[in-house]
Symmetry: C2
């Protein structure tokens, strides 16, 4: 019987924390051994965290990572472990170690290095060109890394043709809306294409602007989902594989057997490495309870919560502070902060001005009560008045304009940063993607802070997330009046967002077409959008690059976020027409 | 006689301004034609500006660039022009058009795409694999692009073996200290290695964090510098080449002739394209007056001035505002701003607090007078006092600390941004590289602004630059007391930089070793640096990544600047030990 017990460790690694990442790996190996596993996989670059960026250019960092790998390998008895690390030879490689009974039995080096979107792997690594397979008892498996399996040919093809019945694909693949579906479809197709079992394992946790959602997945040789982990939390997924079925399936669907005719392992760059199988009996593994697949809104909410928690905690803070205006964005961010850090570790700050409505102040108060957080109230009028007087001579004869509006936002920013300096609370900012896109935010004002929780969440999605959270709570945790009132910055009398911007339900699809899909104005109008709104929106996006460049980081949730995902010059005279 | 008159157009292109870049190219072609030139070269991606970044992912942008190229090509009569553009076929390519008598005679596609340091070319382009040469009358030349000639083999080798006597290498190669020497040495070596004339042409001008210094250079077949443009300004360099000498030199040094034995143009991916030579007489070109090679400090000062001017003007502003503390950094930035924009377009702002010394206020006043700029004085005490009172309850029982210090810096930032909003003056910030490295600066305070002129200038170099400028002025333009006094942030009584940081003459070499050269603590101590200072400095650098991420852009002048040149995670537990 070709039976294999597999553990997929969905691990939250911290970039640069080599010691603790190695500790976690060792503990998980121990746990898998106790469960009688033959094999355990860890995510891509689990040892260093992902992405290590220019840490990879420090020779000491690469050396330290190799030292930690030695420790893991020597600990790996009566089990085989697949561990993502940085291999160093005549160059450096994004690699997987195959550790077997205390020795490094083999290394697989990533073949396809992504260098688009948020990825910069060509900056660091050379590509591998060898596709080893591993014999463990009766079964043969291949290992490859993330991007590799998104290509239909090698290395998966070479490994399957060389006899692999199981492909272990390890990943550091960041979340965006809709990715789970694409991924599942592709993996199922690969399993069917090569009549192999595909076991997919991904990192979990937040790292600066990225959130890794985990999602360990096992597809059988017919493309059927056999096992699946939960998203957004650490977990080891256990699964018993019957690889006998792979060969039976190949008898009925002989494509891979035909492709193997005349297969030349040297030309195909394949070697076979024999591993020592585990020994001893084992009890059955109880099936894991699986949380039902969450909706897009639920996934995004989880991603934002995990991203915020990990940013705060991994940077050595334990509490956050949020400016509460009584609007939808700050209310949503406060709710996420509480879910991420606990209500005892979140402080709300109300900073009313002469233009703040009573409704806004009441909403902020009600929200803080619902969330059970401390609320500090600091009216900004004294500093506003003093600053206006300081500027009186210089501004003499000039009408009030955006200068006076921004003053208020920046006094609030100053107060928030003073709280940060005094109490070591990390400032969470509240701008959404529609604002970041159009520049409808004050640099050093409401944009001042360490982490911009919803900067990649379009305004219309912010409403959905608020409703999702209220639905989960079973009551109006975020007050209904917050959700239904007309959005306003309240920086001058009777100000409304729609005085400056298209209505959000029309703005957001235009922004998606321009920012995420690189559509031209002509194309966007051709899609049926209002030409005046489209032109206004595109002009605002183009003119706001300098603001986004100084914005704090925040969680990527869409296909294309601002930041490393979309790299545009500030000095740029191209009109996106 | 194998005579060729060559024009190297050292052009200041603006990213995305396809129309105006094309106009400039057309005007320069006309001028070169009037001077009887056979050939004119333009820099790498002269048509789009460099780097266009994710504009390259917009199909409309690539299409518009091709349309502009058509215009240029059809204008190109009785002369041959080499123009950098984005070629599009089954992919997109960083390319050079060879335009000859109204038609596109050929295209060279860049072979080596840099993807390190500030470069991301693998993100966009595919590499070319063909090395055409061009016959123009009696002479044969090859064209290649920037990075290509930094490799000792192909394409230069293939082109020379295919008979090229002249290599035209077009560039968009940003300035850093010491690059001019490296470049000249390499180009001279290539000329000797292949017994060819090498004509190097580079972009000039500022683009966000980069400054291109120009430096057209012609090395003859013996590696002797034959002609050279000025750095840091637009110019067309004319040179008459006698390519007869190349063949004669090959008779005496037959290496390239030996390498050509058995040369197979198909295997070497070389084709020869015949161009139509110009017709008509011509007068001799008068030799250009060359400014003597400037010192490192002079080059850096020029780079900062050009970078600042282009950032301000290309972004549609015409004046700048600088907060003058009376210290060395703000004084230097004000001097650069005046050289970049003219004294009528620079405003100084003095914002004294209760902690400002009389000396500082006097120095700011004297500097403004020397520079001939308007000085606005706005004491910050009222807003400082008002904000302290607003925070009194919340801060009750806590001792004064960095919170109160930063409040002052942020009130100043708020005033500067109010001036920006009211008068459309672009805010130039004054932090140097030593401060950016160690985080000795206030986010949203003195870091608030559009352009950080000297962010890549270590403090010790800032002093050198001030002395250089004074020497140039012939008197103490920057008052001697500014240069000699002990550096202080003046945010609390009797504060000095050395209370928080190692002395700058010890700090700067440590920072260079850690930030620019990726040395570990152990190595830095091994180099003879004070262990306590090294540990302090490295810790400060590592803990300040979040500040740098929100810093405004500024001119790169060192081998490795903060920004796209050094990409480190914020969330990072690796200790650079």
């Amino acid at each position: 019987m070709k039976q294999l017990r597999l553990a997929l460790c969905q691990m939250n690694a911290t970039v640069g924390d080599l010691d603790r990442n190695a500790d976690k790996i060792v503990r998980s190996i121990d746990e898998a051994r106790r469960h009688g596993c033959d094999l355990i996989t860890f995510p891509e670059l689990a040892l260093t965290g992902y992405p290590p960026e220019d840490l990879l250019l420090k020779p000491s960092f690469v050396r330290d990572n190799l030292r930690m790998l030695d420790r893991i390998v020597s600990h790996c008895h009566n089990i085989t472990a697949i561990v993502g690390f940085v291999d160093a030879g005549d160059d450096i490689f994004n690699a997987a170690a195959i550790a077997n009974n205390g020795r490094l039995a083999g290394v697989y080096r990533k073949r396809f290095l992504p260098n688009y979107g948020v990825f910069d792997e060509d900056r660091y690594f050379q590509a591998g060109d060898q596709y080893p397979v591993f014999q463990l008892g009766d079964t043969v498996f291949g290992v490859n890394i993330c991007e590799d399996i998104w290509y239909p040919g090698v290395p998966t093809a070479a490994q399957a043709q060389a006899g692999a019945e199981l492909i272990l694909n390890i990943n550091a693949s960041p979340f965006h809306i809709g990715k789970a579906e694409e991924r599942a479809r592709m993996l199922a197709t690969r399993a069917v294409d090569y009549t192999v079992v595909v076991a997919y394992n991904n990192l979990v946790g937040g790292q600066d602007e990225l959130v890794f959602d985990g999602s360990a997945l096992v597809f059988d040789q017919l493309g059927r989902l056999q096992a699946e982990s939960d998203q957004f939390r650490e977990q080891i997924l256990y699964v018993d594989l019957d690889l006998e079925r792979v060969f039976r399936a190949r008898l009925h669907d002989p494509r891979i057997r035909k492709e193997r005719r005349g297969f030349d392992p040297v030309a195909a760059r394949v070697t076979k490495i024999v591993l020592e199988p585990r020994s001893g009996d084992r009890a059955p593994v109880p099936p894991a309870a699986k949380i039902p697949s969450p909706s897009d809104a639920a996934q995004v909410y989880e991603a934002l919560t995990l991203g915020t928690r990990d940013y705060v905690l991994k940077n050595g803070f334990n509490s956050g502070v949020v400016a509460l205006s009584g609007g939808i964005d700050s209310s949503l961010v406060a709710a996420i902060a509480v879910d991420a850090l606990g209500s005892a570790n979140v402080v709300g700050v109300s900073m009313p001005s002469r233009f703040s409505s009573k409704g806004s102040k009441d909403d902020a108060r009600r929200l803080a009560r619902n969330l059970g957080i401390r609320l500090i109230t600091i009216p900004i009028e004294p500093a506003f008045q003093a600053t206006l007087e300081m500027l009186e001579d210089t501004f003499a004869g000039r009408p009030a304009d955006v200068a006076e509006e921004n003053l208020q936002a920046r006094i609030r920013g100053n107060v928030m940063m003073a709280l940060n300096n005094k109490f070591n609370w990390l400032v969470l900012t509240t701008g959404n993607k529609s604002e970041m896109a159009t520049g409808y935010a004050t640099l050093y004002g409401d944009m001042a802070g360490a982490f911009a929780v919803i900067k990649d969440v379009p305004k219309t999605l912010a409403y959905e997330l608020a409703r999702h959270r209220n639905c989960q709570a079973g009551y109006d945790l975020i007050p209904e009046s917050v959700i239904t009132k007309e959005p306003s910055a309240e920086l001058k009398p009777d100000q409304l967002d729609v005085d400056s911007l298209p209505p959000y339900d029309q703005l957001d699809p235009i922004l998606q077409a321009y920012v995420e899909d690189d559509r031209s104005l002509e194309e966007i109008v051709g899609m049926g959008h209002d030409p005046a709104y489209a032109e206004l929106a595109i002009g605002l996006v183009d003119r706001s690059e300098h603001k986004r460049r100084q914005a704090p980081p925040g969680v990527k949730v869409t296909r294309r976020a601002f930041g490393r995902d979309r790299r545009l010059p500030i000095t740029n005279r191209y009109k996106g027409a």
